[in-house]
């Protein structure tokens, strides 16, 4: 695909005469996955394309429950239904075609996506935004079949409800355990915000309960902020076992509700297991992933390094310094949509600018944030500037930061689904 968009500048009737699109009305873009990357890409491609592109979104869930902000539901700060969003506006206002099915395979030579239901979806460009799947066996003793006994709750949806039910059902003075994931994983502060939200719920319902955090990492996102907040709001409730005390050597026994840390058996009352992660299955099935399990991309436009007719967005991409977050996926989607539209229709292509901010809630009105701005280099998407909340900030600033996070949720969901 070496043809230049310049060839189309000034063309009118010839505007869709790309080599791959000869003899058809409009260039076809298929988007796999309706999350922060995929929904944003579909919306921007269809909306900004103003009918020039035929955009199909492949997503099995009629209602998308965001994984971001699901911790706030666990903590009792948010209704479950407030996390759910439909695709109606993408269809009715922007003309996206919705295929309510799972993508089961990609024939890259023929440029066709096959759905689980057997539908064939030809494309001129494919956007793959499948999020994460788990590395089987990364927590010995746990597999997806154990997710009822020990939920991962790390993809949003029903698993998150199950997690909250287990916290609520914890016996008085009981022990709740979390196994945190190794790097890299979705939402770096997510496990620690989840600990905060579980502690918040327990503090009110079951204040003598304990939380055991088993962590294979030496350090983690916003560590000083979480530690300060836990000391302040939940003193004596949370114990973290890092790798220096065997946190990287863990096995679980879901049937017996036991966690084995460095050979020592701990009886717990409930647990959540967040395993090691990799790109969502379809990325590997399409041959887009490397040995590490992630899909490498071109930092300038999120194009797959394996296939220039495919863009990979969000958590599944191996892009460099950006965290795996909804904010990052949304940011990448808009850069990619501009580049794809330019290639397929000759519209103007502008330089890539990426950014990210991750808010976390530690307790009522105690919000913190971390963020950075990113630009492409030949090797990777590189951080060029960053900031983080400080320890010891006053309550007014923390409250303002929390309120800002609510504004962000309203903003990004409007940007994805509006």
């Amino acid at each position: 695909m070496s043809w230049s968009r310049r060839a189309f500048l000034g063309a009118t009737a010839a505007i869709v005469a790309a080599p791959a699109t000869i003899g058809q009305a409009r260039p076809r873009v298929v988007v796999i996955g309706g999350g922060a990357g995929g929904a944003t890409a579909a919306r921007y491609l269809a909306r900004d394309g103003k009918g020039a592109l035929d955009v199909t979104l492949v997503e099995p869930n009629a209602t998308y429950h965001t994984c971001f902000f699901s911790n706030l539901y666990v903590g009792g700060f948010r209704d479950y239904d407030s996390l759910g969003h439909g695709y109606e506006r993408l269809v009715s206002a922007h003309g996206v075609r919705l295929v309510a099915d799972r993508a089961a395979g990609v024939d890259r030579d023929a440029r066709v996506v096959a759905t689980a239901g057997g539908e064939k979806l030809p494309y001129d460009h494919l956007v793959v935004s499948p999020g994460i799947d788990f590395v089987e066996g990364s927590v010995p003793g746990w597999s997806l079949a154990d997710a009822e006994a020990m939920p991962h709750a790390y993809k949003g949806g029903e698993q998150v409800r199950l997690l909250r039910a287990k916290v609520e059902a914890l016996p008085e003075g009981g022990v709740f355990a979390m196994v945190a994931p190794p790097n890299p994983y979705r939402c770096p502060p997510g496990p620690y915000e989840r600990i905060s939200m579980i502690a918040h719920l327990l503090k009110q319902r079951n204040p003598t309960a304990k939380i055991l955090l088993i962590d294979p990492k030496d350090k983690y996102s916003k560590q000083a902020l979480f530690e300060e907040g836990w000391q302040k709001h939940y003193p004596g409730m949370i114990t973290r076992i890092g790798p220096d005390f065997g946190g990287a050597n863990v096995e679980v026994r879901p049937a017996a509700m036991e966690v084995v840390v460095d050979g020592q058996v701990e009886k717990v009352d409930a647990a959540t297991i967040i395993p090691a992660q990799r790109a969502g299955d379809i990325a590997a099935m399409a041959g887009l992933t490397n040995d590490a399990g992630w899909a490498p991309i071109d930092p300038g436009n999120m194009r797959s390094r394996m296939d220039p007719a495919i863009t990979v967005l969000g958590d599944a991409a191996q892009q460099g310094d950006m965290p795996k977050s909804a904010f990052a996926a949304n940011s990448q989607a808009k850069v990619a949509a501009n580049a794809i539209r330019g290639e397929l229709t000759g519209s103007r292509v502008f330089p890539a600018k990426y950014s990210n901010t991750c808010w976390s809630l530690i307790a009522t009105e105690d919000g913190v944030k971390v963020g950075a701005a990113y630009e492409p280099t030949p090797e990777k998407i590189a951080s060029v500037d960053s900031f983080i909340s400080q320890t010891g900030e006053d309550a007014r600033l923390r409250k303002a930061t929390f309120e800002e996070s609510l504004g962000w949720y309203a903003g990004i969901t409007a940007d994805m689904f509006g």
Binding site: Y44, D48, F327, N330, S331, K334, N338, R348, F350, K353, S355, T357, K369, G371, A372, A373, E375, V384, D385, S386, F387, R396, L397, K399, A400, E403, E404, S405, L406, G407, W408, Y409, A410, G411, I412, A414, D415, G418
Partner: protein, 233 residues
């Protein structure tokens, strides 16, 4: 038309300490303060009126006078960390809404830098005596960088602005909805441009906006301003 744009003073990021000048003429400032006195009291026994009293305003966190009911915009800027200093007060007096969106201070601003300097010299007399407090605000200003009028007069490329705006829309709803993050839809061009340069120069607080504005060039800020000013969604 371009009122209030010509001289937003912002500290140059790398400005070497250059020639300092006395900040202004207090007597002249006292006379100019008549324009403010309809709403603000200052001096012994001053109380909150339409606006908060202005005793000890230098060094005070914005929106922090106990008991005064501030606008949401000013309270937000205070929570974000805006502190009233010579630089921030100067920017506020020049164009209140460019520094603090949705402030209730209904004042068009002093265009003339000398007027602002004189009023600030007058107000400064009612803040703590700098001779007694070593860390108090300076009484003379460092050389300041002024956003040149030609940059403020740039005609933005609205199509480029539309692309760049995608970054803003993650948080600022294009519909103008306001759920904890202010709307920037249909913000007047001059306010938008001055505000972004104020973030860039770190006169306006807020780390996210300082970072976002920090990497935008003059043309890009103009492009965004042109786009958002006319956005209808």
């Amino acid at each position: 038309m371009r009122k209030g744009l010509a001289a937003l003073p912002v500290l140059a990021a790398l400005a070497a300490p250059a020639a300092a000048s006395e900040i202004g003429d207090r007597e002249r400032g006292a006379a100019l303060f008549d324009e403010c006195a309809g709403c603000h009291e200052v001096g012994p026994g001053a109380q909150d009126a339409t606006g908060p009293h202005l005793n000890r305003v230098f060094g005070r966190r914005a929106g922090s006078v106990e008991g005064y009911d501030y606008s949401e915009g000013l309270a937000r800027m205070g929570a974000d960390g805006l502190v009233w200093t010579l630089e921030t007060l100067d920017a506020y007096l020049e164009n209140p809404r460019a520094l603090v969106s949705r402030t209730r201070m209904n004042f068009a601003g002093f265009d003339d830098p000398q007027d602002r300097a004189d009023v600030l010299a007058y107000l400064r007399g009612f803040s703590d005596n700098p001779r007694d407090i070593p860390e108090a605000e300076p009484t003379a200003r460092r050389e300041i960088y002024t956003v040149p009028p030609e940059i403020l007069a740039l005609n933005g490329d609205s199509e480029y602005g539309e692309y760049l705006s995608a970054e803003c829309r993650t948080c600022h709803q294009a519909s103008g909805g306001y759920d904890g993050i202010p709307s920037i839809t249909q913000w007047p061009v001059e306010h938008f441009v001055v505000a972004m340069h104020a973030y860039k120069a770190r006169v306006r607080p807020h780390p996210v906006m300082q970072m976002i504005a920090g990497r935008l060039g003059d043309e890009e800020i103009a492009a965004l301003a042109a786009y958002f000013a006319t956005l209808e969604e």
